[in-house]
């Protein structure tokens, strides 16, 4: 059996989109914690995120179709996922998609017009990882990835 190149595995995984926010990959989101020739280690974002199972199935399908049938997928809870694990390119993709990426700033930057004159409408949004915000400048509502 040929030696498995982990760089190639990372590349396959980077092609697996998040089912809820398909503009970013599971690698961008920091869901993939570790890759070895035997095993891909993943961690859920939120405890109750319904996408967790779909993500695992999607990763399995991607690995299988790239010929990595023997690479196992292992789920770990610890250390708990945090938004710090979202890559810089992932944050840029979120912003371009219309979702304000997580940041320590008190207000979000509006992904439509770039204003920082924004306010939180509700701490919970369309998915567990996002809050609902509104821009006071362009008046558009938008999602903000919660700092977590």
């Amino acid at each position: 059996m040929a030696v498995i190149d982990t760089d190639a595995l990372w590349q396959v995984l980077d092609g697996v989109p998040d089912p809820e926010i398909p503009v970013v990959s599971v690698v961008d989101l920091g869901i993939v914690r570790d890759v070895t020739p035997e095993r891909v280690t993943v961690t859920p974002t939120y405890t109750g995120c319904p996408a967790t199972l779909v993500i695992e199935q999607d990763i399995r399908a991607a690995l299988d179709s790239a010929g990595y049938r023997d690479v196992r997928i292992e789920t770990v809870l610890s250390p708990p996922w945090s938004t710090d694990w979202i890559s810089e390119s992932g944050k840029a993709k979120l912003h371009a998609y219309g979702i304000a990426p997580p940041s320590d700033a008190r207000t979000a930057t509006c992904p439509q017009c770039g204003s920082v004159d924004t306010e939180e409408l509700s701490r919970f949004g369309s998915t567990p990882c996002k809050a609902q915000w509104r821009c006071r400048a362009c008046l558009e509502p938008f999602d903000r990835f919660k700092c977590h």
Partner: protein, 255 residues
């Protein structure tokens, strides 16, 4: 309960944790599509989702410890009411929105302190679930406290309803801090929490929020205990009837 079977402590501890989350998650699901506003609807659905997520992890772990082939789904959908180990607080009916928020505030404030404690559990799985979930539970505690304040310090009507909600649930708080033989054994082994350690912190937090809500704490009532040993109120059976109907009617159904 005179003695506790040694190998049963971890299983029962996981059931208590998982059943609290499961039943409250199911209760919150009843609000879906009925909340006062779409934002609140999303909040309650998200709370429920977090809780069901916790329940899945705790009950899967319980099934693994038991080693008889039961997983989280089996434990959730194929146990009868006497086998449930949740506290009385979480099985209480939703009532109106104020009553739901009063219940959530009293529970989530406790659960946040509990999970902080359990992050140091000697059981790696419990520690990992607690560390993961505590970040979410903090949101539940904060948001429900905001509603206690907003409704308590609101109109005459909202104030009356919040006071009634707190009054109703107050009698179920002592159970959260009960240390029976099993809880004591679990704490001694370092896998479960000694809940008495954060009772003072809990009381302080609750009273501070009530003060901000300009509400007096309800008078202490005769505590109602027994949920941890399978003694439940009339409500839990109805919760289970709805929750378990489908998997019991169609046992071979899969997601």
């Amino acid at each position: 309960m005179a003695t506790v079977a040694a190998d049963n402590v971890l299983f029962e501890t996981l059931l208590r944790l998982g059943d609290d989350s499961l039943i409250l998650g199911q209760r919150l699901g009843e609000w879906c599509g009925h909340a006062p506003s779409v934002e609140v609807d999303l909040s309650l659905a998200n709370f429920g989702l977090d809780l069901i997520g916790q329940a899945t992890l705790f009950l899967n772990a319980a099934g693994a410890v038991e080693g008889q082939g039961r997983d989280g789904d089996k434990l959730a959908f194929h146990r009868d009411v006497l086998d449930f180990r949740n506290c009385w607080l979480v099985e209480q009916p939703n009532g109106d929105f104020a009553q739901t928020m009063a219940r959530q505030f009293l529970f989530s404030t406790w659960q946040e302190l509990l999970f902080r404690n359990l992050e140091g559990s000697a059981d790696e799985t419990i520690a990992a679930i607690a560390a993961k979930a505590v970040k979410e539970v903090r949101y539940h505690a904060e948001l429900s406290a905001e509603w206690v304040i907003r409704l308590g310090d609101g109109t005459e009507e909202s104030r009356r309803r919040m006071a009634e909600g707190l009054e109703w649930h107050w009698r179920f708080v002592p159970e959260l801090f009960e240390m029976d033989a099993l809880a004591t054994e679990a704490a001694t082994r370092g896998v479960g929490a000694d809940v008495s350690l954060f009772r003072a912190d809990y009381d302080r937090r609750v009273r501070s929020v009530l003060a901000e809500a300009t509400l007096a704490a309800p008078k202490d009532q005769r505590p109602i205990l027994g949920g941890r040993r399978g003694h439940h109120g009339e409500h839990l059976g109805h919760v289970l009837a709805v929750m378990q109907f489908l998997p019991r009617t169609y046992p071979d159904a899969v997601w």
